[in-house]
Homo-oligomer: 234 residues x 2
């Protein structure tokens, strides 16, 4: 089973890596990180660089397509190469999936027209503007399309998907293998639980983070070419 | 605050990436993936390659040291370069932390002698042999040493650590930003909840997975050099 995780500059790391941990352990799984071109792709923090092993053109027809979100997702719709890849690949996938604001990229590809879907709580309105029916659930499955809420929800989605692909007992075995018995130290994981004050703080922090990340990426970008060429930090 | 995540060939991806997602958003965080030498490091699945931006020698004194686990961790103790790095860095860290079988590497470095610590349920006995006092809790903090149970427990640990570093309100804000409101589709995340039959199945699957991963890594290793040189898949 060919599983493709579509990357792009400024993706959110855990959006991709939560599901990857689960899906890479499925029997017969061949997971490929893909991007506009093969080579290094850096996440939104600027600290993580992952190697895409194939370009979108080189893996046009995965069985499972997974799209992570990222802080600049809104600006990617609908012109980014990943959107074209989703549009072309979706008709022949077994599963088309997204995590967090990755749903906006599915929406940008026209895949969610009139379809129930979920995304990060902060971008529900954008999802509606792309023609989807935003649903406040952590994992939403409609036919072969499965979407997950923000960031960490990709783990719950991947276990749900694992059960569809390999059976419930295998999915439960995977859950035990990754000891997924979550015990968050706080009870602030959803807007309802966090309350309006924390929601406002999170929204402010998200905007500030995006600005800081943008600045950090720029300073990194100047240094990274030299680093990459030398194979070590400058 | 300089946060170093120590990588090595065959690390478990989510062990590193769960905490990374949280810690990289801390105010003033500078996160560096480090390894024996700077450059590409491949996870236990063989599918994920991450760029280490510095060598252990280049970052000998991080403020926060984090060690992920991996399927070959047992064979790394005590001779792997990461163990020497832990031993040298620990005296001056603000926090020394591990996820999953990463605790065995802390143990190998002599950091856990007589210290309460946790690790993946499958390797509790190994932790005891390294002189630690294995504790069945998801996150264990003793002084400046914080250890997490298997794989996904790194997220709970990182939020706990975030609260220590940046305060509870900031940690709660991070939790909301990553929408960490876990809803596992099954209730099989611990040996107690899973029951003996599933535990046996998971242990068998873990051994099989390790064997498959070893075989896959070998076949990848033959092809990867060519890929890396060309910057794209062969």
């Amino acid at each position: 089973m060919r599983i493709a995780i579509g990357l792009y500059d400024c993706f959110t790391s855990l959006d991709a890596m939560g599901p990857f941990q689960v899906l890479s352990s499925l029997p017969g799984a061949e997971v490929t990180f893909v991007a506009a071109k093969a080579g290094p792709v850096t996440d939104e923090s600027g600290f993580l660089t992952v190697t895409a092993r194939a370009s979108f053109d080189e893996l046009p027809d995965p069985d499972v397509l997974l799209v992570p979100g990222g802080t600049i997702t809104g600006t990617l719709v609908p012109d980014h190469p990943i959107v074209g890849w989703i549009r072309r690949a979706h008709p022949t996938t077994t599963w088309t999936t997204s995590v967090c604001s990755g749903a906006l990229l599915l929406g940008g590809a026209g895949v969610l027209k009139g379809v129930d879907a979920t995304t990060h709580w902060g971008v529900f309105d954008e999802l509606a503007r792309l023609g989807a029916n935003p649903v406040h659930e952590r994992v939403v499955r409609r036919g072969k399309i499965m979407t997950a809420a923000g960031v960490s929800a990709g783990i719950d989605m991947a276990l749900t998907l694992a059960a569809e692909i390999a059976g419930v007992e295998f999915a439960r075995t995977l859950q035990l293998m990754i000891e997924y018995d979550p015990q968050p130290p706080f009870d602030a994981g959803s807007p309802e639980k966090a309350g309006p004050e924390l929601v406002n703080r999170a929204l402010t922090a998200m905007v500030q983070t995006m600005q800081q990340l943008a600045a950090r990426r720029e300073s990194f970008a100047e240094g990274v070419d030299g680093r990459t060429a030398a194979g070590r930090p400058g």
